[in-house]
Protein backbone atom coordinates (compact mmCIF):
# COMPACT_ATOMS: atom_id res chain seq x y z
CA UNK A 1 0.00 0.00 0.00
CA UNK A 2 1.59 3.23 -1.06
CA UNK A 3 1.99 5.81 1.56
CA UNK A 4 -0.31 8.57 0.52
CA UNK A 5 0.82 11.65 2.27
CA UNK A 6 -2.22 13.51 3.42
CA UNK A 7 -1.60 17.16 4.01
CA UNK A 8 1.08 17.40 6.61
CA UNK A 9 0.20 14.15 8.31
CA UNK A 10 3.34 12.27 7.50
CA UNK A 11 5.62 15.22 7.07
CA UNK A 12 8.06 15.58 9.90
CA UNK A 13 7.02 18.54 11.97
CA UNK A 14 9.82 20.99 12.72
CA UNK A 15 11.24 20.47 16.18
CA UNK A 16 9.56 23.11 18.29
CA UNK A 17 11.65 25.91 19.68
CA UNK A 18 12.08 26.25 23.40
CA UNK A 19 9.57 29.02 23.35
CA UNK A 20 6.93 26.67 22.01
CA UNK A 21 7.64 24.26 24.82
CA UNK A 22 6.77 27.06 27.21
CA UNK A 23 3.17 26.44 26.32
CA UNK A 24 3.11 23.15 28.15
CA UNK A 25 5.20 24.32 31.08
CA UNK A 26 2.22 25.32 33.26
CA UNK A 27 0.78 21.85 32.92
CA UNK A 28 4.04 20.11 33.74
CA UNK A 29 4.64 22.45 36.63
CA UNK A 30 1.20 21.76 38.00
CA UNK A 31 1.65 18.02 37.65
CA UNK A 32 5.01 18.13 39.37
CA UNK A 33 3.87 20.33 42.21
CA UNK A 34 0.63 18.60 43.00
CA UNK A 35 0.95 15.08 41.73
CA UNK A 36 4.51 13.87 41.46
CA UNK A 37 6.02 15.65 44.40
CA UNK A 38 3.36 14.59 46.92
CA UNK A 39 2.95 11.04 45.70
CA UNK A 40 6.65 10.63 45.14
CA UNK A 41 7.26 11.64 48.73
CA UNK A 42 5.34 8.60 49.82
CA UNK A 43 6.04 6.20 46.99
CA UNK A 44 9.76 6.53 47.60
CA UNK A 45 8.97 4.49 50.68
CA UNK A 46 8.76 1.45 48.45
CA UNK A 47 12.52 1.41 48.44
CA UNK A 48 12.75 1.08 52.17
CA UNK A 49 11.98 -1.88 54.33
CA UNK A 50 10.27 -2.08 57.70
CA UNK A 51 13.25 -0.83 59.60
CA UNK A 52 13.84 2.08 57.30
CA UNK A 53 16.86 0.70 55.50
CA UNK A 54 17.25 1.08 51.77
CA UNK A 55 16.32 -2.16 50.10
CA UNK A 56 14.81 -3.57 46.95
CA UNK A 57 13.02 -6.25 48.88
CA UNK A 58 9.61 -4.76 48.29
CA UNK A 59 10.10 -4.46 44.57
CA UNK A 60 11.37 -8.02 44.40
CA UNK A 61 8.39 -9.27 46.31
CA UNK A 62 6.19 -7.91 43.58
CA UNK A 63 7.49 -10.40 41.10
CA UNK A 64 8.20 -13.21 43.50
CA UNK A 65 4.93 -13.52 45.33
CA UNK A 66 2.27 -15.36 43.34
CA UNK A 67 -0.55 -13.72 45.23
CA UNK A 68 0.62 -10.28 44.13
CA UNK A 69 0.97 -11.31 40.50
CA UNK A 70 -2.47 -12.89 40.64
CA UNK A 71 -3.88 -9.66 41.98
CA UNK A 72 -2.38 -7.66 39.15
CA UNK A 73 -3.74 -10.09 36.61
CA UNK A 74 -7.18 -10.00 38.18
CA UNK A 75 -7.19 -6.22 38.11
CA UNK A 76 -6.11 -6.17 34.50
CA UNK A 77 -8.83 -8.64 33.56
CA UNK A 78 -11.63 -6.77 35.22
CA UNK A 79 -10.42 -3.47 33.81
CA UNK A 80 -10.15 -4.88 30.30
CA UNK A 81 -13.55 -6.55 30.44
CA UNK A 82 -15.32 -3.48 31.74
CA UNK A 83 -13.44 -1.19 29.36
CA UNK A 84 -14.55 -3.26 26.39
CA UNK A 85 -18.06 -3.91 27.57
CA UNK A 86 -18.49 -0.39 28.83
CA UNK A 87 -17.00 0.95 25.63
CA UNK A 88 -19.28 -0.97 23.35
CA UNK A 89 -22.57 -0.36 25.10
CA UNK A 90 -21.60 3.18 26.05
CA UNK A 91 -20.92 3.86 22.41
CA UNK A 92 -24.31 2.49 21.43
CA UNK A 93 -26.00 4.68 24.00
CA UNK A 94 -24.09 7.75 22.86
CA UNK A 95 -24.96 6.94 19.28
CA UNK A 96 -28.62 6.55 20.13
CA UNK A 97 -28.97 10.01 21.59
CA UNK A 98 -26.74 11.92 19.20
CA UNK A 99 -27.11 10.85 15.60
CA UNK A 100 -29.43 7.97 16.36
CA UNK A 101 -32.51 10.09 16.03
CA UNK A 102 -33.90 10.19 19.52
CA UNK A 103 -35.58 13.36 20.81
CA UNK A 104 -33.27 16.11 22.02
CA UNK A 105 -34.68 16.02 25.54
CA UNK A 106 -33.54 12.45 25.97
CA UNK A 107 -30.02 13.50 25.11
CA UNK A 108 -30.02 16.14 27.84
CA UNK A 109 -31.40 13.65 30.30
CA UNK A 110 -28.84 11.00 29.46
CA UNK A 111 -25.88 13.38 29.46
CA UNK A 112 -26.72 14.88 32.82
CA UNK A 113 -27.57 11.49 34.27
CA UNK A 114 -24.26 10.16 32.99
CA UNK A 115 -22.51 12.94 34.79
CA UNK A 116 -23.97 11.82 38.08
CA UNK A 117 -23.68 8.11 37.46
CA UNK A 118 -20.04 8.36 36.38
CA UNK A 119 -19.06 8.87 39.98
CA UNK A 120 -21.61 6.61 41.63
CA UNK A 121 -19.35 4.03 43.22
CA UNK A 122 -18.28 2.47 46.45
CA UNK A 123 -20.57 1.31 49.20
CA UNK A 124 -23.71 3.05 47.86
CA UNK A 125 -23.30 1.43 44.45
CA UNK A 126 -22.61 -1.95 45.99
CA UNK A 127 -25.68 -1.62 48.15
CA UNK A 128 -27.83 -0.57 45.20
CA UNK A 129 -26.81 -3.68 43.28
CA UNK A 130 -27.22 -5.89 46.31
CA UNK A 131 -30.73 -4.53 46.70
CA UNK A 132 -31.37 -5.33 43.05
CA UNK A 133 -29.59 -8.59 42.34
CA UNK A 134 -28.53 -9.89 45.72
CA UNK A 135 -30.12 -12.89 47.30
CA UNK A 136 -32.82 -10.65 48.71
CA UNK A 137 -32.74 -8.27 45.77
CA UNK A 138 -36.00 -7.33 44.19
CA UNK A 139 -35.11 -8.54 40.71
CA UNK A 140 -34.04 -11.85 42.16
CA UNK A 141 -37.37 -12.02 43.94
CA UNK A 142 -39.23 -11.00 40.79
CA UNK A 143 -37.58 -13.71 38.76
CA UNK A 144 -38.46 -16.26 41.37
CA UNK A 145 -42.07 -15.17 41.70
CA UNK A 146 -42.99 -14.66 38.09
CA UNK A 147 -40.70 -17.04 36.25
CA UNK A 148 -39.90 -19.58 38.88
CA UNK A 149 -36.20 -19.06 38.33
CA UNK A 150 -34.05 -19.22 41.42
CA UNK A 151 -30.98 -17.68 39.90
CA UNK A 152 -28.79 -18.25 42.91
CA UNK A 153 -29.53 -21.95 42.87
CA UNK A 154 -28.58 -21.99 39.22
CA UNK A 155 -25.15 -20.67 40.01
CA UNK A 156 -25.49 -16.96 39.51
CA UNK A 157 -23.99 -14.80 42.18
CA UNK A 158 -23.56 -11.09 42.35
CA UNK A 159 -20.48 -11.67 44.47
CA UNK A 160 -18.28 -12.91 41.69
CA UNK A 161 -16.13 -11.56 38.90
CA UNK A 162 -19.18 -11.31 36.66
CA UNK A 163 -21.20 -9.54 39.31
CA UNK A 164 -18.41 -7.08 39.99
CA UNK A 165 -18.00 -6.39 36.28
CA UNK A 166 -21.72 -5.79 35.99
CA UNK A 167 -21.54 -3.34 38.88
CA UNK A 168 -18.54 -1.54 37.45
CA UNK A 169 -20.53 -0.87 34.29
CA UNK A 170 -22.61 1.62 36.23
CA UNK A 171 -19.77 4.12 36.05
CA UNK A 172 -18.18 2.86 32.86
CA UNK A 173 -21.19 3.29 30.56
CA UNK A 174 -21.75 6.93 31.53
CA UNK A 175 -18.08 7.76 31.13
CA UNK A 176 -18.10 6.40 27.59
CA UNK A 177 -21.28 8.29 26.79
CA UNK A 178 -19.88 11.57 28.03
CA UNK A 179 -16.64 11.31 26.11
CA UNK A 180 -18.10 9.97 22.87
CA UNK A 181 -21.14 12.20 22.54
CA UNK A 182 -19.09 15.24 21.45
CA UNK A 183 -17.09 13.03 19.09
CA UNK A 184 -20.22 11.66 17.51
CA UNK A 185 -21.45 15.19 17.08
CA UNK A 186 -18.46 15.72 14.88
CA UNK A 187 -19.59 13.21 12.32
CA UNK A 188 -20.70 15.62 9.70
CA UNK A 189 -24.01 14.92 8.17
CA UNK A 190 -22.55 15.79 4.78
CA UNK A 191 -20.33 12.75 4.94
CA UNK A 192 -23.30 10.47 5.48
CA UNK A 193 -25.19 12.09 2.66
CA UNK A 194 -22.20 11.94 0.35
CA UNK A 195 -21.72 8.29 1.12
CA UNK A 196 -25.34 7.54 0.45
CA UNK A 197 -25.23 9.48 -2.79
CA UNK A 198 -22.36 7.29 -3.86
CA UNK A 199 -24.41 4.23 -3.08
CA UNK A 200 -22.95 3.13 0.21
CA UNK A 201 -25.10 1.06 2.51
CA UNK A 202 -25.33 1.81 6.20
CA UNK A 203 -22.86 -0.94 7.00
CA UNK A 204 -20.38 0.36 4.47
CA UNK A 205 -20.73 3.86 5.76
CA UNK A 206 -20.01 2.75 9.29
CA UNK A 207 -17.20 0.37 8.45
CA UNK A 208 -15.38 2.56 5.99
CA UNK A 209 -16.10 6.09 7.08
CA UNK A 210 -17.62 6.61 10.47
CA UNK A 211 -15.74 4.07 12.56
CA UNK A 212 -12.34 4.91 11.14
CA UNK A 213 -12.96 8.55 11.94
CA UNK A 214 -14.17 7.72 15.40
CA UNK A 215 -11.59 5.09 16.20
CA UNK A 216 -9.02 7.38 17.83
CA UNK A 217 -11.68 8.82 20.11
CA UNK A 218 -13.04 5.37 20.88
CA UNK A 219 -9.57 4.13 21.76
CA UNK A 220 -8.94 7.17 23.88
CA UNK A 221 -12.15 6.61 25.78
CA UNK A 222 -11.38 2.96 26.30
CA UNK A 223 -8.01 3.61 27.82
CA UNK A 224 -9.77 6.01 30.13
CA UNK A 225 -12.29 3.35 31.06
CA UNK A 226 -9.47 0.92 31.61
CA UNK A 227 -7.69 3.30 33.95
CA UNK A 228 -10.95 4.09 35.69
CA UNK A 229 -11.60 0.46 36.50
CA UNK A 230 -7.97 -0.27 37.27
CA UNK A 231 -7.86 2.30 40.03
CA UNK A 232 -11.26 1.48 41.50
CA UNK A 233 -11.22 0.24 45.05
CA UNK A 234 -14.25 1.00 47.17
CA UNK A 235 -16.81 -0.79 45.03
CA UNK A 236 -14.84 -4.00 44.84
CA UNK A 237 -14.08 -3.90 48.54
CA UNK A 238 -17.70 -3.46 49.49
CA UNK A 239 -19.09 -6.04 47.12
CA UNK A 240 -16.55 -8.84 47.10
CA UNK A 241 -14.35 -7.80 50.00
CA UNK A 242 -12.36 -10.81 50.94
CA UNK A 243 -12.64 -12.94 47.86
CA UNK A 244 -11.60 -10.96 44.78
CA UNK A 245 -8.20 -9.59 45.71
CA UNK A 246 -7.67 -6.96 43.08
CA UNK A 247 -4.45 -5.05 43.45
CA UNK A 248 -6.00 -1.90 44.86
CA UNK A 249 -7.41 -3.93 47.73
CA UNK A 250 -3.99 -5.45 48.35
CA UNK A 251 -2.48 -1.99 48.44
CA UNK A 252 -5.17 -0.88 50.84
CA UNK A 253 -4.43 -3.85 53.05
CA UNK A 254 -0.78 -2.89 53.31
CA UNK A 255 -1.24 0.82 53.74
CA UNK A 256 -4.56 1.44 55.36
CA UNK A 257 -5.69 -1.43 57.41
CA UNK A 258 -6.27 -2.02 61.05
CA UNK A 259 -3.60 -4.63 60.91
CA UNK A 260 0.10 -4.00 60.98
CA UNK A 261 1.57 -4.51 57.55
CA UNK A 262 4.29 -3.23 55.36
CA UNK A 263 3.51 0.16 53.82
CA UNK A 264 6.68 -0.11 51.75
CA UNK A 265 5.22 -3.11 50.00
CA UNK A 266 2.01 -1.19 49.41
CA UNK A 267 3.91 1.65 47.80
CA UNK A 268 5.83 -0.82 45.68
CA UNK A 269 2.54 -2.29 44.48
CA UNK A 270 1.37 1.19 43.57
CA UNK A 271 4.53 1.66 41.54
CA UNK A 272 3.71 -1.60 39.83
CA UNK A 273 0.35 -0.16 38.88
CA UNK A 274 2.08 2.87 37.41
CA UNK A 275 4.21 0.55 35.34
CA UNK A 276 1.21 -1.39 34.04
CA UNK A 277 -0.53 1.84 33.17
CA UNK A 278 2.56 2.99 31.28
CA UNK A 279 2.64 -0.23 29.31
CA UNK A 280 -1.06 0.03 28.48
CA UNK A 281 -0.53 3.60 27.43
CA UNK A 282 2.31 2.59 25.15
CA UNK A 283 0.10 0.04 23.46
CA UNK A 284 -2.69 2.52 23.15
CA UNK A 285 -0.35 5.20 21.76
CA UNK A 286 0.84 2.84 19.10
CA UNK A 287 -2.72 2.01 18.10
CA UNK A 288 -3.60 5.67 18.25
CA UNK A 289 -0.75 6.55 15.95
CA UNK A 290 -1.96 4.08 13.39
CA UNK A 291 -5.55 5.20 13.45
CA UNK A 292 -4.91 8.89 13.52
CA UNK A 293 -2.56 8.70 10.62
CA UNK A 294 -4.82 10.08 8.05
CA UNK A 295 -6.64 12.52 10.27
CA UNK A 296 -4.91 15.77 10.72
Amino acid sequence: MTEITVMGARAKLPAPSWRTWLGVVPFFLFAILFLFLPSGRLLVGSFFDDQGHLSFGNILELVEQPYILNSYWLSIRISAVTALGGGVFGFLLAYAVTIGGLPRSLRTALITFSGVASNFAGVPLAFAFVATLGRTGFITALLKTYFGWNVYDRGFSLYSFAGLALTYMYFQFPLMVLIMAPALDGLKREWREAAENLGASTTQYWLKIALPILLPSILGSMILLFGNAFGAYATAYALTGGTLPIITIQIGAQIRGDVLHNPGLGYAMAMGMVFIMAVSLAGYSWLQGRTERWLR
Binding site: W21, L35, Y95, F127, I139, L178, S217, N228
Partner: protein, 277 residues
Protein backbone atom coordinates in the same frame (compact mmCIF):
# COMPACT_ATOMS: atom_id res chain seq x y z
CA UNK B 1 -32.08 4.75 0.52
CA UNK B 2 -33.00 8.30 1.48
CA UNK B 3 -31.60 10.33 4.31
CA UNK B 4 -34.99 10.58 5.95
CA UNK B 5 -34.94 9.03 9.35
CA UNK B 6 -37.21 6.10 9.65
CA UNK B 7 -38.28 5.16 13.11
CA UNK B 8 -34.94 4.72 14.90
CA UNK B 9 -35.74 1.30 16.23
CA UNK B 10 -32.29 0.29 17.43
CA UNK B 11 -31.67 3.63 19.06
CA UNK B 12 -34.76 3.10 21.16
CA UNK B 13 -33.63 -0.42 22.01
CA UNK B 14 -30.24 0.72 23.27
CA UNK B 15 -31.79 3.58 25.15
CA UNK B 16 -34.42 1.39 26.76
CA UNK B 17 -31.81 -1.13 27.85
CA UNK B 18 -29.72 1.69 29.26
CA UNK B 19 -32.66 3.09 31.19
CA UNK B 20 -33.46 -0.32 32.59
CA UNK B 21 -29.89 -0.90 33.73
CA UNK B 22 -29.52 2.51 35.34
CA UNK B 23 -32.91 2.88 36.94
CA UNK B 24 -33.37 -0.49 38.59
CA UNK B 25 -30.58 -0.15 41.18
CA UNK B 26 -31.72 3.39 41.95
CA UNK B 27 -35.25 2.17 42.43
CA UNK B 28 -34.00 -0.53 44.76
CA UNK B 29 -32.17 2.09 46.85
CA UNK B 30 -35.21 4.34 46.94
CA UNK B 31 -37.48 1.49 47.91
CA UNK B 32 -35.27 0.52 50.80
CA UNK B 33 -34.90 4.10 51.98
CA UNK B 34 -38.66 4.47 52.26
CA UNK B 35 -39.06 1.54 54.56
CA UNK B 36 -37.56 2.85 57.76
CA UNK B 37 -40.94 2.83 59.43
CA UNK B 38 -41.94 -0.73 60.07
CA UNK B 39 -44.64 -1.87 57.70
CA UNK B 40 -45.09 1.54 56.12
CA UNK B 41 -43.67 3.56 53.28
CA UNK B 42 -42.51 6.90 54.50
CA UNK B 43 -39.82 9.53 54.65
CA UNK B 44 -38.58 8.82 58.12
CA UNK B 45 -35.08 8.04 56.89
CA UNK B 46 -34.96 11.36 55.06
CA UNK B 47 -36.04 13.25 58.12
CA UNK B 48 -33.45 11.51 60.23
CA UNK B 49 -30.75 12.25 57.69
CA UNK B 50 -31.61 15.94 57.65
CA UNK B 51 -31.78 16.14 61.40
CA UNK B 52 -28.11 15.30 61.74
CA UNK B 53 -26.15 18.38 62.67
CA UNK B 54 -22.65 17.06 62.15
CA UNK B 55 -20.50 19.49 60.22
CA UNK B 56 -23.24 22.08 60.38
CA UNK B 57 -25.83 20.02 58.60
CA UNK B 58 -26.79 18.96 55.09
CA UNK B 59 -26.99 22.28 53.26
CA UNK B 60 -23.81 23.94 54.53
CA UNK B 61 -21.81 20.84 53.67
CA UNK B 62 -23.43 20.58 50.24
CA UNK B 63 -22.91 24.23 49.42
CA UNK B 64 -19.27 24.03 50.46
CA UNK B 65 -18.77 21.17 48.03
CA UNK B 66 -20.59 23.18 45.37
CA UNK B 67 -18.17 26.04 45.80
CA UNK B 68 -15.22 23.72 45.48
CA UNK B 69 -16.74 22.14 42.41
CA UNK B 70 -17.14 25.45 40.64
CA UNK B 71 -13.62 26.54 41.50
CA UNK B 72 -12.16 23.24 40.39
CA UNK B 73 -14.00 23.27 37.09
CA UNK B 74 -12.90 26.78 36.25
CA UNK B 75 -9.29 26.13 37.22
CA UNK B 76 -9.27 22.85 35.30
CA UNK B 77 -10.55 24.48 32.15
CA UNK B 78 -7.93 27.20 32.39
CA UNK B 79 -5.20 24.59 32.78
CA UNK B 80 -6.34 21.86 30.43
CA UNK B 81 -7.78 23.60 27.39
CA UNK B 82 -4.68 25.57 26.41
CA UNK B 83 -2.51 22.54 27.14
CA UNK B 84 -4.59 20.22 24.98
CA UNK B 85 -4.65 22.83 22.26
CA UNK B 86 -0.93 23.36 22.37
CA UNK B 87 -0.24 19.64 22.28
CA UNK B 88 -2.47 19.18 19.33
CA UNK B 89 -1.17 22.08 17.36
CA UNK B 90 2.42 22.82 18.20
CA UNK B 91 4.03 20.18 20.39
CA UNK B 92 2.74 16.75 19.42
CA UNK B 93 5.97 15.29 20.73
CA UNK B 94 4.73 15.96 24.22
CA UNK B 95 1.52 14.04 23.71
CA UNK B 96 2.65 10.73 25.15
CA UNK B 97 4.09 12.30 28.27
CA UNK B 98 1.02 14.42 28.82
CA UNK B 99 -1.32 11.47 28.34
CA UNK B 100 0.75 9.46 30.77
CA UNK B 101 0.49 12.23 33.32
CA UNK B 102 -3.25 12.45 32.85
CA UNK B 103 -3.64 8.74 33.51
CA UNK B 104 -1.53 8.77 36.67
CA UNK B 105 -4.33 9.93 38.99
CA UNK B 106 -5.95 6.56 38.39
CA UNK B 107 -3.10 4.63 39.90
CA UNK B 108 -2.17 6.95 42.73
CA UNK B 109 -4.67 6.25 45.50
CA UNK B 110 -6.27 9.39 46.88
CA UNK B 111 -4.98 8.59 50.32
CA UNK B 112 -1.39 8.62 49.11
CA UNK B 113 -2.05 11.90 47.35
CA UNK B 114 -3.52 13.58 50.40
CA UNK B 115 -0.82 12.45 52.79
CA UNK B 116 1.78 13.50 50.25
CA UNK B 117 0.20 16.93 49.90
CA UNK B 118 0.19 17.37 53.64
CA UNK B 119 3.79 16.29 54.01
CA UNK B 120 5.04 18.54 51.27
CA UNK B 121 2.98 21.63 51.96
CA UNK B 122 2.89 21.71 55.71
CA UNK B 123 6.36 23.15 55.65
CA UNK B 124 6.96 26.66 54.43
CA UNK B 125 9.02 27.13 51.30
CA UNK B 126 12.03 29.19 52.07
CA UNK B 127 14.11 31.16 49.62
CA UNK B 128 16.96 28.78 48.98
CA UNK B 129 19.87 29.07 51.37
CA UNK B 130 17.99 31.39 53.66
CA UNK B 131 15.30 30.94 56.23
CA UNK B 132 13.08 33.63 54.84
CA UNK B 133 9.77 32.06 54.01
CA UNK B 134 8.59 32.58 50.47
CA UNK B 135 5.33 30.77 50.93
CA UNK B 136 4.10 29.92 54.36
CA UNK B 137 2.77 26.57 55.38
CA UNK B 138 -0.26 26.03 53.21
CA UNK B 139 -1.97 23.73 55.61
CA UNK B 140 -2.00 26.26 58.38
CA UNK B 141 -4.31 28.69 56.74
CA UNK B 142 -7.85 28.21 55.47
CA UNK B 143 -7.12 29.66 52.05
CA UNK B 144 -3.93 27.60 51.79
CA UNK B 145 -5.83 24.44 52.59
CA UNK B 146 -8.41 25.52 50.07
CA UNK B 147 -5.74 25.79 47.40
CA UNK B 148 -4.55 22.29 48.24
CA UNK B 149 -8.09 20.99 47.99
CA UNK B 150 -8.73 22.58 44.63
CA UNK B 151 -5.36 21.38 43.33
CA UNK B 152 -6.10 17.90 44.62
CA UNK B 153 -9.50 17.88 42.98
CA UNK B 154 -8.01 19.11 39.73
CA UNK B 155 -5.62 16.19 39.83
CA UNK B 156 -8.44 13.74 40.49
CA UNK B 157 -10.46 15.14 37.62
CA UNK B 158 -7.52 15.52 35.25
CA UNK B 159 -8.00 12.24 33.34
CA UNK B 160 -11.60 13.03 32.59
CA UNK B 161 -11.21 16.69 31.77
CA UNK B 162 -8.24 16.11 29.51
CA UNK B 163 -9.80 13.20 27.65
CA UNK B 164 -13.00 15.16 27.11
CA UNK B 165 -11.25 18.24 25.84
CA UNK B 166 -8.83 16.27 23.71
CA UNK B 167 -11.64 14.32 22.07
CA UNK B 168 -13.52 17.52 21.47
CA UNK B 169 -10.54 19.14 19.84
CA UNK B 170 -9.91 16.16 17.66
CA UNK B 171 -13.43 16.47 16.38
CA UNK B 172 -13.03 20.11 15.56
CA UNK B 173 -10.31 21.01 13.11
CA UNK B 174 -8.33 23.28 15.38
CA UNK B 175 -5.55 23.75 12.89
CA UNK B 176 -7.76 25.26 10.22
CA UNK B 177 -9.64 27.34 12.76
CA UNK B 178 -6.42 28.70 14.12
CA UNK B 179 -5.01 29.48 10.72
CA UNK B 180 -8.20 31.20 9.71
CA UNK B 181 -8.29 33.24 12.87
CA UNK B 182 -4.64 34.15 12.59
CA UNK B 183 -5.07 35.25 9.03
CA UNK B 184 -7.77 37.56 10.31
CA UNK B 185 -5.29 39.00 12.76
CA UNK B 186 -6.33 37.39 16.04
CA UNK B 187 -3.88 37.02 18.87
CA UNK B 188 -3.55 33.88 20.97
CA UNK B 189 -5.90 35.00 23.66
CA UNK B 190 -8.62 35.87 21.19
CA UNK B 191 -8.15 32.59 19.39
CA UNK B 192 -8.46 30.66 22.60
CA UNK B 193 -11.43 32.45 24.06
CA UNK B 194 -13.41 33.38 20.99
CA UNK B 195 -12.63 30.59 18.57
CA UNK B 196 -11.53 27.43 20.35
CA UNK B 197 -13.56 27.49 23.55
CA UNK B 198 -16.95 27.90 21.93
CA UNK B 199 -16.22 25.09 19.52
CA UNK B 200 -15.38 22.59 22.20
CA UNK B 201 -18.32 23.54 24.33
CA UNK B 202 -19.94 20.13 24.41
CA UNK B 203 -16.67 18.52 25.35
CA UNK B 204 -16.13 21.11 28.06
CA UNK B 205 -19.57 20.36 29.38
CA UNK B 206 -18.74 16.67 29.63
CA UNK B 207 -15.53 17.42 31.46
CA UNK B 208 -17.27 19.86 33.78
CA UNK B 209 -19.99 17.37 34.65
CA UNK B 210 -17.47 14.66 35.39
CA UNK B 211 -15.39 16.97 37.57
CA UNK B 212 -18.48 18.20 39.37
CA UNK B 213 -19.55 14.67 40.28
CA UNK B 214 -16.09 13.85 41.56
CA UNK B 215 -15.88 16.87 43.80
CA UNK B 216 -19.34 16.50 45.29
CA UNK B 217 -18.78 12.92 46.35
CA UNK B 218 -15.13 13.09 47.32
CA UNK B 219 -14.31 11.96 50.83
CA UNK B 220 -10.64 11.13 51.28
CA UNK B 221 -9.05 14.46 50.39
CA UNK B 222 -11.62 16.48 52.28
CA UNK B 223 -11.63 14.41 55.42
CA UNK B 224 -7.86 14.38 55.84
CA UNK B 225 -7.43 18.03 54.96
CA UNK B 226 -9.95 18.82 57.62
CA UNK B 227 -12.62 20.34 55.42
CA UNK B 228 -16.24 19.69 56.27
CA UNK B 229 -17.58 19.17 52.81
CA UNK B 230 -20.37 16.97 51.62
CA UNK B 231 -18.48 13.70 51.28
CA UNK B 232 -17.31 13.58 54.90
CA UNK B 233 -20.77 14.68 55.96
CA UNK B 234 -22.40 11.75 54.18
CA UNK B 235 -19.94 9.43 55.80
CA UNK B 236 -20.40 10.74 59.28
CA UNK B 237 -24.17 10.59 59.10
CA UNK B 238 -24.63 7.34 57.29
CA UNK B 239 -21.75 5.16 58.29
CA UNK B 240 -23.37 2.88 60.79
CA UNK B 241 -27.00 3.43 60.07
CA UNK B 242 -29.27 1.24 58.01
CA UNK B 243 -31.77 3.43 56.20
CA UNK B 244 -30.22 6.88 56.27
CA UNK B 245 -27.39 6.05 53.87
CA UNK B 246 -29.87 4.84 51.27
CA UNK B 247 -31.92 7.98 51.72
CA UNK B 248 -28.84 10.18 51.42
CA UNK B 249 -27.61 8.27 48.38
CA UNK B 250 -30.87 8.78 46.56
CA UNK B 251 -31.15 12.39 47.59
CA UNK B 252 -27.59 13.18 46.57
CA UNK B 253 -28.19 11.54 43.24
CA UNK B 254 -31.24 13.69 42.60
CA UNK B 255 -29.61 16.89 43.79
CA UNK B 256 -26.48 16.35 41.72
CA UNK B 257 -28.62 15.57 38.69
CA UNK B 258 -30.53 18.80 39.14
CA UNK B 259 -27.32 20.74 39.58
CA UNK B 260 -25.97 19.26 36.38
CA UNK B 261 -29.12 20.10 34.57
CA UNK B 262 -28.68 23.68 35.68
CA UNK B 263 -25.10 23.72 34.48
CA UNK B 264 -26.18 22.47 31.12
CA UNK B 265 -28.98 24.98 30.91
CA UNK B 266 -26.76 27.89 31.72
CA UNK B 267 -24.02 26.93 29.33
CA UNK B 268 -26.50 27.19 26.52
CA UNK B 269 -27.43 23.64 25.81
CA UNK B 270 -25.76 21.06 23.71
CA UNK B 271 -26.12 19.10 20.60
CA UNK B 272 -25.08 21.57 17.98
CA UNK B 273 -22.67 19.50 15.98
CA UNK B 274 -19.49 21.35 16.69
CA UNK B 275 -17.94 22.47 13.46
CA UNK B 276 -20.72 21.21 11.24
CA UNK B 277 -20.82 24.29 9.12
Amino acid sequence: MSGVRRFPFWSWVWFALGVLYFVLPLYATLDFSLRMERGAIGFKAYQAAFAATSYGGFWPAFSLSLQYAVLTIIASIILVVPTAYWIRLRVPQARRVVEFITLMPFVVPAIILVFGLIRVYSQPFNIPFTSIPLIGSLTNSPWGTGILMVAGYMILGLPYMFRSVDTGMRTVDVRTLTEAAQSLGANWFTIMVRVILPNVRTALLSGALLTFAIVIGEVVLASYLGINSFGPYLFLVGQHRAYEPAALTFLTFLLTWVAMGLIQLITGGQGQAAGAH
